[in-house]
Symmetry: C2
Subunit: 387 residues, 2 copies
């Protein structure tokens, strides 16, 4: 494969093992036939997927691992694009020579989901029919649509079957969708801190984030691309999300009741506590890199995700695959709590699938799936090697 | 006392025991001397407290119970104001003849906190110096200020010592503040689903709700009283709060993934799921009865509440009272989890206080303190009788 250079890049926080993939090049594929989405709406050509790859595809094309990103992620999973990059990709500690997704053995692919804003076609893209940004006219999507688009790119890359599909959170939903809908094209399914059925709690949180966005006067029904974006609404949505990614323990450990600058109350509504300041920063930096309409589309797709509602219910969910499952949960994850991972495990077992389940302990809440590489890597490396 | 009529009023959901107090009259006391707040800011006269009472004060004035309301509450704790009232007060199942706060034995007082919007002086009141609503110029308050104002009204009512002070959530903080700062004026302290130290999680949630309000273009720096209120921002804040009051279990039990009107996705960002519709309703109805500036002031006071930060720390928190403590928590309350009630218990025990602690189980999350009257009433009645 082109576009991948292996080199040693020092990262700020060196992982416990392995090396970085070094410099990588973003890639894009443009499709010239439509994508029919689950709602019936059509994404007309040209539409595109932004992606990156790490490692080399072997001669029999049997070593490909598709890594799916979560709500705020993109195709840039590992390495750096240029020496001036301050940060590596979002899954850096897991991808590289000697890491869980060992680029000396595996060919790792990460694609930005359609509907996103990281280079794949989404609401900020131009509708070819009008020449204007799609905005709210962009099709409402499902996790099934995200995956159907991924299948199209794998066809282009000539990969008939994935060694594994992996992801955490929304990434895990995509991995499970692969098992449910494209079961013969995947040998291993890795779902971290995820669910097969969005809960009432996640529906409630997503809807409240969307309300913050659509209440922002700059949202303009989704047609804000010529003016200022609905920044305050998106920041509020991101903060709601961010709180749900952290456990009470993690917040306490990181911030406690520390004052940001003072040593006591300043008697104001401004950010006085460190945790307030942190959330302000998170909201601001998200607004600079994310499109509010993508936030609406992606959270709605998450809402609709429920493998148990399909014909045959839980029992049939994974009956069309012979894939093996690697499932992990974290005890302080209140967004996708262990019980929901255990539902995945139960469904896979009902279908006679082999499942490895790791109920990890960590103070880090939902974000543990991104951070606890030392917990995940040994069992995951071992499991991948056994596929 | 005037203003209280005992009568039997049928309520929609009849509690398991006892009767309603029937019709009650809202009362107001206007103070003609300033209230100096903890920040040093002065609330000049005339300022007022709205309150209600239930039952009769006995001749030695020893049977008064002060019930403190939570963030969204007011002075109307029980009964109805008129036959056209559709709902009783917020603490209806707990107040009345034969109920936990038995109005045949006790004289129950409930006051709207200052800074609120239920009849007591708050940001929507007129600043006597300018004749305009206070808005953002209203003093930033603390839970100590709420309680100091309550003390002023008890002085007016001639009540030297309370039999008990009670509350859940922010109401519990006020009860604990009574014990910490006015310890000789209270014999019993009842703190339900509360904390003596606002956690990083509650700081994060409160700050995000405030951001939603202050980002609303109708907020206008707090001077919105002549125009439309920041309704969308306040609704978002309320929804964030409401989610935190419910457990994942309660949401699942109440709403599951039920569609509101359809039998499947309508491919829109509108409220399609029942839980979305419910939150929309909660947001809307809150906006009709609550003032956004009060939401800012009250949540900030909650943020500042930390008895452990005072001189002497936890050990000294309750060293100036001989009150007995009744503390209750609920296992699914993730806003004020049992561990925080246990911190209250530990602090009270360090001060040599007698404590009854009830770690209840319920699926209802934080809201359990308002709803689980069947759990709370027997031990609470018994404990009150022993005071």
């Amino acid at each position: 494969m082109t576009g991948v250079t292996i080199g040693d890049v020092p990262t700020v926080a060196l992982p416990a093992w392995g090396r970085s993939v070094g410099f990588v090049s973003p890639q894009t594929h443009i499709f010239d036939t439509p994508l029919i989405t689950q709602s019936g709406a059509v994404l007309p050509p040209p539409w595109q997927i932004a992606y990156e790859t790490y490692g080399q595809l072997n001669s029999d094309r049997s070593n490909a691992i598709l890594l799916c990103h979560a709500l705020s992620g993109d195709a840039h999973a590992a390495g750096r694009h240029s020496p001036s990059d301050l940060k590596s990709g979002w899954s850096e500690p897991f991808i590289g020579p000697g890491r869980a997704f060992d680029t000396e053995q595996y060919f790792v692919i990460c694609m930005n989901i359609i509907g996103g804003c990281g280079g794949s076609t989404g609401p900020a893209s131009l509708d070819p029919a009008t020449g204007r940004p799609w905005g709210s006219r962009f099709p409402i999507l499902t996790v099934g649509d995200f995956v159907a688009a991924q299948v199209r790119l794998l066809d282009v890359l000539g990969i008939e079957q994935l060694l594994a599909v992996a992801g955490g959170s929304l990434g895990g939903m995509q991995a499970l969708e692969w098992a449910a809908s494209w079961g013969r094209r995947v040998r291993g399914v890795i779902a971290l801190a995820s669910t097969a059925r969005s809960s009432a709690m996640t529906l409630a949180l997503n809807a409240t984030g969307r309300l913050a966005i659509t209440s922002d006067p700059h949202w303009c029904g989704g047609d804000y691309y010529a003016g200022p974006p609905p920044a305050a609404g998106l920041a509020t949505a991101r903060r709601i999300g961010h709180i749900s990614y952290l456990s009470a323990e993690a917040l306490e450990e990181k911030f406690d009741r520390r004052w940001q600058e003072s040593t006591g109350p300043q008697w104001s509504h401004a950010a006085e506590f460190a945790v307030e300041s942190y959330l302000e920063h998170q909201g601001r930096s998200f607004v600079n890199r994310f499109d509010a309409n993508s936030y609406l589309v992606i959270t709605r797709a998450m809402d609709y995700f429920d493998l148990s509602a399909r014909p045959g219910g839980w029992k049939a969910a994974f009956s069309n695959t012979s894939a093996r499952f690697f499932v992990a949960s974290w005890n302080t994850d209140w967004l996708y709590p262990p019980a929901e991972s255990e539902q995945i495990v139960a469904a896979a077992q009902m279908a006679g699938r082999q499942v490895h389940y790791y109920p990890f302990a960590s103070a880090r809440g939902h974000d543990a799936f991104l951070l606890e590489d030392e917990q995940i890597t040994p069992p995951l490396s071992h499991w991948l090697a056994s596929l």
